[in-house]
């Protein structure tokens, strides 16, 4: 699963969700996804609640449902796998339309599908309402180690540049008639990849020199972020409360 994400999924809108501080959104997303994951699969009503809330959030964020649906296609390979399960699984079987399917298998498919799709929807909403740089700022507020944040910041900064360079290399090669169809023709690609790595490394050295030239002594400046205010945290608490509560009830009742 690599080719899907050449562009971040941010959608520029003005909504309450967009305005929320990133660290609050990260906490909310995590709370929701964990609740979804621990909910027993038989509690179909719980998943209905989750789905309803997520649809509501999508509206609140002014994101088009179609947008989310299209992005959900990225989960397709796993969907395909999940759909195979009732055919290859074990246990008691039942017959649907003349085909023998495993009951447990059907439940297994449901389990994977509903959690994967709901979880992915939450992720998609998060990325659609939060710019990448803000997500990183949110992480740093949540005490993710500074070295990790710094590396991530540089990665994001230079990602487009490097993809462009890689893209240009491919254009140059294709213009000279190179059309790789088999892995055996990987030599030029791999050599260009090696050359690109050397150039990237040397750029890293030059950036380091530029940092030194502006007085860098080892401490990266910490990104400046606004703290989430009370109403935002209250909203997060409510949202996570609903999800967690539903999950706990589902666990207890079953």
């Amino acid at each position: 699963m690599g080719a899907g994400h050449s562009h971040a999924l941010y959608v520029h809108e003005h909504s309450v969700v967009h305005r929320m501080a990133p660290q609050a959104k990260l906490v909310a997303a995590l709370g929701m996804v964990v609740s979804i994951a621990i909910t027993p699969r038989e509690a179909v009503w719980a998943f209905a609640i989750y789905a309803a809330v997520i649809v509501g959030l999508t509206g609140l964020s002014r994101i088009r449902p179609g947008f989310v649906a299209v992005r959900l296609l990225a989960v397709a390979p796993f969907v395909v796998f999940a759909l195979f399960i009732p055919f290859i699984a074990t246990g008691e079987t039942t017959e649907i339309l003349g085909i023998t399917l495993s009951i447990d298998g059907l439940w297994g498919t449901w389990n994977i599908l509903v959690k994967a799709l709901l979880g992915a929807s939450v992720s998609i909403l998060l990325t659609a309402t939060t710019e990448v740089a803000d997500i990183i700022r949110g992480l740093s507020i949540l005490r993710v180690p500074a070295l990790f944040i710094a590396i991530t910041t540089f990665m994001i900064r230079y990602l487009e540049l490097i993809s462009d360079e890689l893209g240009r290399m491919r254009v140059a090669m294709t213009s000279r008639g190179y059309d790789p169809r088999w892995i055996s023709q990987a030599r030029p690609i791999a050599s260009s990849a090696g050359a690109l790595f050397v150039r990237s490394y040397e750029r890293g050295e030059r950036v380091h020199a530029a940092m030194l030239a502006r007085g860098f002594t080892g401490d990266m400046p910490m990104p400046d972020t606004e703290l989430a205010n009370r109403p935002q945290w209250a909203g997060v608490l409510l949202l996570v409360g609903v999800f967690a509560g539903t999950a706990i009830i589902a666990l207890v009742v079953l």
């Binding site: 994400h5 994951a37 621990i38 298998g105 998060l126 230079y158 490097i162 993809s163 690609i189 990849a193």
Partner: protein
């Protein structure tokens, strides 16, 4: 066929998500400390830019066989170029950003996604690389050959790791041996692409800036100029690695399944005789149900899982040892 990397939520049971999450946090914390020491402040722009490079490289799919495409994982390559700990950090960054900013991979799946795609390939791949370098000639060609095989193996290791996680935390009733067979089978193919690309890329870097290859710091100019590697040595090395799993397992040949179960029982994997109580409590029912020869499968899981774990642990060990002996001024 499916590639279960960047797994979404719900694929494995929450218990596994938590356990692998804890393992990943601990190992990455260790890797961060190692990275800080090893490269000082130069690490930051360098590691970030290399992460961008791996991220970009992952965007290009290549065909491996009819209907299957794969893409670069990059863990072994990053480890051989920049060291195992830095390599692990870099791929972790890629995986985490893909999950948080590109919605690729579930948030609750980060624990095992990081473990399978970053930690296992970087440390396990690097450990195998070091072992191969001991038997391969000390030349640029030897480094390239070792890289190719280690990178191939790192992809297989990732598939094995996922399969073992399935054994303990399957969320659907698909037997372990089905998952194992499918995962390891397809990734043995995909790994070929990883191996070739990694080997050629390291070769290109060695030709231009040999000082940039962490895994080749011990070579002098003369050795670096020797870029061909004996075909025979390479093939033997490759087959040796590929056969480690197969040969060891085939000792417990199918024509002696009882013997296998006995071994499995002796080694404590299964309680012999009565209901497999250990299996019940530890392994996911789903994963063990329906396997025609449970003992065989679990023995395979045990042996293969142990080999991968040993390689990863050895990788961690080398990382510590190398950072102690490395002259700080030379990096």
């Amino acid at each position: 066929m499916i590639i279960a990397m960047h797994a979404p939520d719900g694929f494995l049971e929450p218990v596994i998500a938590v356990v692998t999450g804890i393992i990943s946090v601990v190992v990455i914390g260790f890797a961060l400390r190692q990275s800080r020491e090893q490269l000082k402040d130069k690490a930051i722009p360098l590691a970030g830019i290399t992460a961008a490079f791996i991220f970009a490289a992952q965007m290009f799919n290549f065909p491996v066989a009819a209907g299957t495409t794969g893409h670069l994982l990059g863990g072994a390559l990053a480890a051989i170029l920049l060291g195992p700990s830095v390599g692990a950090i870099i791929v972790t960054t890629v995986v985490v950003v893909q999950a948080l900013a590109f919605a690729d991979g579930g948030l609750t799946a980060l624990g095992y996604n990081v473990l399978n795609m970053a930690i296992v390939p970087a440390y396990g791949g690097y450990a195998l690389f070091r072992l191969l370098r001991r038997v391969f000639p000390a030349t640029a060609g030897g480094v390239v050959g070792a890289t190719g095989i280690a990178a191939w193996a790192s992809v297989v290791m990732a598939a094995v790791a996922f399969s073992i996680e399935w054994l303990f935390g399957a969320s659907a009733p698909v037997a372990f041996d089905t998952v194992f067979g499918a995962m390891v089978g397809t990734h043995a193919l995909i790994g070929i692409g990883e191996g070739i690309i990694s080997a050629l890329a390291v070769g290109a870097v060695l030709a231009a800036r040999p000082d940039l290859v962490y895994g080749a710091q011990d070579l002098d100019r003369a050795q670096l100029s020797e870029s061909k590697m004996g075909m025979r040595t390479f093939v033997i090395g490759g087959l040796l690695v590929a056969m480690v799993f197969a040969v060891v397992v085939s000792q417990f040949a199918v024509d002696n399944p009882d013997g296998l179960e006995k071994v499995a029982a002796d080694t404590g994997f299964i309680a012999s005789g009565e209901e497999h109580s250990l299996a019940d409590s530890l392994f996911a029912d789903y994963a063990t149900a329906g396997i025609s020869n449970e003992g065989f499968s679990l023995a395979v899981a045990g042996i293969v899982g142990t080999v991968v774990t040993l390689l990863v642990v050895y990788g961690l060990f080398i990382a510590v040892r190398e950072s102690r002996s490395r002259d700080p001024a030379s990096v």
